[in-house]
């Protein structure tokens, strides 16, 4: 008899029922906000409403998926655009990298120029390597400075660390450098440790130099630093040339075999410095002409 009129229905009136449920609610509120005796109650209700919450999330999920589907079209377009941009940027980035490396190298050379100028009074000119001839027998490079830039044969070529070689041929706008490692090239050197004088020669191999004609009992050790002695007037004194790598002392031979490696990046770099000729006695023109006549 659910549809019976109100005056037939039994049970308490609305206010009484409200009172009961309000009282119950107040108990719950007090319990939940102050005492928390029954955490299980909340968990149980949570389990009951979970399916409803799950269903309530379905529209949001569908909306998200549709959004993703539409966005994927834009993403394709964006992807193509970004790839083009990436390629463009990559080219610039590569340029930047090489510029950075070049900048670092130039800065080093600048420091080297100042050092050399204070130490040896030699002027340094910056030159760039034009190309390295593909000749396995000659260790030579071509620079972009020539006689038009007042380059003369015999000038020393160095980088920020040490000696690279010597100018042997000058053209109007370029010049040829014989590297330290060329088999016909020799530099008068001194051992820093004990000032032993000698001459270091190229062997025709990359990164290998040789100290010839030193007797077996010579006082020389691995890792000895060899610097230019300044004798001969081509190289200013005190520029690092090579470090001793290994020494073979065979008693049956007359001379010790002393292998060393160049300090400078002989086969590296793009920029080098050309030092002005050092004049042994700057005020004596006779001496200069004599040296030049010897060179030629």
């Amino acid at each position: 008899m659910k549809t019976a009129p109100q005056f037939f229905r039994h049970g308490p009136g609305p206010f009484a029922r409200l009172f009961v449920f309000a009282f119950l609610s107040c108990l719950l509120i007090a319990e939940d906000s102050r005492f928390k005796y029954f955490p299980e109650l909340r968990q149980t209700i949570g389990v009951v409403i979970f399916p409803f919450q799950k269903i309530a999330y379905i529209p949001a999920n569908i909306y998200d998926q549709i959004g993703e589907f539409i966005a994927s079209f834009y993403l394709l377009e964006e992807n193509i655009k970004l790839r083009q941009q990436y390629l463009e940027n990559r080219e610039q980035l590569l340029k930047l990298h090489s510029l950075e490396a070049e900048n670092i190298q130039l800065r080093k050379l600048l420091v080297a120029v100042q050092k050399i100028e204070t130490r040896t009074k030699a002027k340094a000119v910056l030159a760039e390597i034009l190309y390295t001839p593909r000749d396995p027998f000659n260790h030579k490079i071509t620079l972009n400075k020539g006689s038009q830039h007042h380059i003369q044969p015999g000038q020393a070529v160095i980088d920020d660390k040490g000696v690279v070689g010597q100018i042997t041929q000058v053209y109007p706008w370029s010049s040829e450098v014989t590297l330290l490692t060329d088999k016909d090239h020799s530099v008068p050197v001194q051992v820093v440790r004990n000032s032993l004088r000698s001459v270091i020669s190229g062997t025709g191999k990359n990164n290998e130099l040789e100290l010839r004609y030193l007797s077996v009992n010579t006082d020389i050790q691995p890792d000895d630093l060899l610097v230019t002695s300044g004798i001969g007037g081509v190289y200013p004194p005190g520029i690092p040339v090579a470090a001793v790598l290994k020494i073979e002392r065979n008693p049956t031979d007359d001379f010790a075999q002393i292998i060393s490696t160049p300090i400078a990046g002989v086969d590296r770099n793009r920029q080098v410095l050309i030092l002005s000729l050092v004049q042994p006695t700057p005020n004596d023109p006779l001496e200069i002409s004599k040296i030049e006549s010897q060179k030629n």
Binding site: P14, R17, F21, L24, L28, I29, E31, I45, I49, A56
Partner: protein, 182 residues
């Protein structure tokens, strides 16, 4: 026949959806409440949250007005507990508010039924406003701050939504016109 009944019958032609509803079965009531609960749990974001009406409250009001014996206070209490857990509010907050709502509809239901849906809307708004005040009172009693006036905008949207929601809920309950009737 009591005079109220006569007055209703006299006004019947002017107002739709009045007293011509067939009794609803329990399944339909439960379904409507479940849908209302789901609507309340919709994961909305941003400014729309301010305007979100309490669908469960509106549904409870509908059944309280149109079928008072279908809407027991215990059901409202249970729905309130579910809302509390789903809203992560204090347990009993919505339960109390819904019980108050049911009480109001039980008292005012028969009077409200005389009005058309559009006329009912502002009065439903008052009921929802009282419900929200109950919620706010419980929140304050447990140490929360007063919400801004925007909180009560949900009442306005609820009152406005009363018209379509009530219309939709009563649709399956309308008596179909009998072609063989006089």
């Amino acid at each position: 026949m009591n005079p109220k009944r006569i007055r209703e019958n006299l006004n019947a032609d002017n107002y739709f959806g009045q007293d011509v509803l067939v009794p609803a079965n329990n399944g339909y009531v439960a379904l409507s409440l479940a849908i209302a609960l789901i609507l309340n749990f919709l994961p909305l974001q941003g400014d729309i949250l301010i305007f979100r009406p309490d669908f469960v409250a509106i549904t409870i009001v509908f059944w309280g007005i149109n079928h008072p014996h279908k809407m027991g206070m215990s059901v409202a209490f249970g729905m309130g507990l579910m809302m509390d857990v789903g809203n992560t509010s204090i347990l009993g907050q919505h339960a109390l508010a819904y019980c108050v709502t049911v009480y109001l509809t039980l008292i005012l239901g028969r009077r409200l039924r005389l009005f058309s849906l559009i006329q009912q809307a502002p009065q439903i708004g008052v009921i929802l406003f009282i419900m929200q005040i109950a919620i706010v009172l419980v929140a304050i009693s447990s140490g929360s701050n007063l919400p801004g006036w925007q909180y009560f905008l949900a009442t306005v949207t609820g009152a406005l939504l009363w018209i379509p929601i009530s219309f939709l809920l009563s649709m399956p309950l309308r008596q179909k016109p009998d072609p063989n009737a006089l």
